[in-house]
Amino acid sequence: MMSKNIKDTVWVFAEQTNGQLADVSLELMHKAGTLAEKMDSGVSAVLLGHKVGSLAKILYAHGADNVYLLDDEELEEFRSQPYANLITRLVEKKRPRVVLFGATHIGRDIAPRVASHTRSGLTADCTELKVETLTIKKIEHPDLLLQIRPAFGGNIVATIISPDVEIQMATVREGVMEMGEPDTTRKGKLIQVPVELDAVETAVRIIEKHQEDSAVNLKSAPIIVAGGYGADTPEKFNLIKELAKVLGAEVAGSRAAVDAGLIDVERQVGQTGTTVRPKLYIAIGISGAIQHRAGMQESQKIIAINSDPDAPIFSVAHYGICGKLEEVIPKLIAAYKSQLH
């Protein structure tokens, strides 16, 4: 538990839906802990909803020293303006230095509004975050948030900073940061924040909502077989699916495969999709742009199958097979089946 005088300057938006905290928020809590340590700060979670106070103890276990709780009937379902405006007011009042959001449908909807109103720097889809003190043009900038993300065409990694403003914000995709073990003995402080909203802020109404439990869970799959633009016909992609079936693996795809309509977007691996760390990742017909590699390069073992010997995917692979997928996959299936018997 943090001492009384410690700073309260690293915040995480604790996203919940139907009383369930988003994994990405908990992942960010752990990252925030690392950043806060460098800044001699505690970590605060900002929790909005209705009858969600019991979630605070989960947030403490994942590293929250404070939980700002905004609990109101009007906040039961997520809506842009009530959520963004209330967070904005709290940020303006307390002026944290760092605010992190999950890059979800909700986080990406409200973070820009909060940043716009508070004139904060905001970087989307960061793949790494650090805190450093930098000297720029002889001026020392303490506690800068280094917002690191692949940029432009994926050939570069850019480090973005916001040196001239007080509040630095970033969004991060689910799975990018690792969720540490919760410590259920940790305690924190619940800070109730009054909720006041006017009729204009609550004018948007939800008429209908339809949400399914995701059948796809790439993050927890031990084996993933992923196809890219090299599998540019449904026939070739079916081979990939067949391999996945034999191996008991989940099927995934690169953004190119999603854009080509070969696979659903919820199965996209990469910076703008899901980040995965399976025991085995088989990349087939995926050239391996950095946005894709960012989402899979921490897999325990990586097999790359590609007809282009210069494909960048080989640089992160443990096993590289240069060949046509329609010739390689059947041999791979046969090899696996023969080992089972």
Binding site: A84, R108, P112, A115, G153, I160, R205, K209, H318, V328
Partner: protein, 299 residues
Amino acid sequence: MSLHTIVLVKQVPDTSNISGDVMRPDGTVNRAKLPAIFNPEDKEALELALRLKDQHGGHITVLTMGPPNAANMLRECLYMGADRAILVSDRRFAAADTLATSYALYKAIQHIGEYDLIFGGRQAIDGDTAQVGPQTAEKLNIPQISYTLEIQDLDLKKRRITAKRAIKNGYEVLEAPLPVLLTVTKDAADPRPFDVKRLCTYKRAQSKFEVQALAEESHDLVWMEDLLEKLKAEELYIETWNIEDIDADVSMCGLAGSPTKVHKVENVVLSGSEFKEVPPTQEGMTEMIEELMQDHIFG
């Protein structure tokens, strides 16, 4: 009251088509060499706006902030059915991040005046940030519907719109008062082809920069004023606004108005650890599977 829709559009480098000569020897991308295209989701946003115009009448203003050659994309908007095209362009907007961009768009929208709806793509393919739409809505102090999939109803009498938006593993239907800003996600609306008649008319539409370039060739400034007047009279003028025209604060624009700065850019260093090349033969596959089995990778 007739429906006035503003559509925010952006011309972007085609990052999906990076070919050989675009890559520099050091492996970085030469952005200038990439072909410029109409940001795909912005085009779908324009299509949604056009469909509402087909049903309810009214007029559509397309607005972009970008370099002078963004006039090419604005002409495409006119070919599809937009009524008015505005190019906000000024060197002092250069290197704007999403906050400075949304500020410039906000000032330009204020300069346009009354509106009922604002559409834009969810995100642009050169940054994928999805921030400019919500930031512009915030500055205008209006609600937003992001990730819009479909417009279900527009009631101009009650001044309300009903739209379906994507949420995680599903969708929701929202009803919002006008004016509202909607960002449109991929596959919301297949953009219509150019209208041939409109193409014949609007291929002559020109921005101030294009008229200036013609005048410089002819060394005749009087002629330039005449040409501008003529274009305006024929409604073929792509309105071209600079910082002063939209009454923007210079310190809030471009690099100066951008809180985020690029600190450094690194070429990607590929970590080639314990790489094994496997021949694409049955023996090669079997050997690899054996190794993986020994490492307890399966099960």
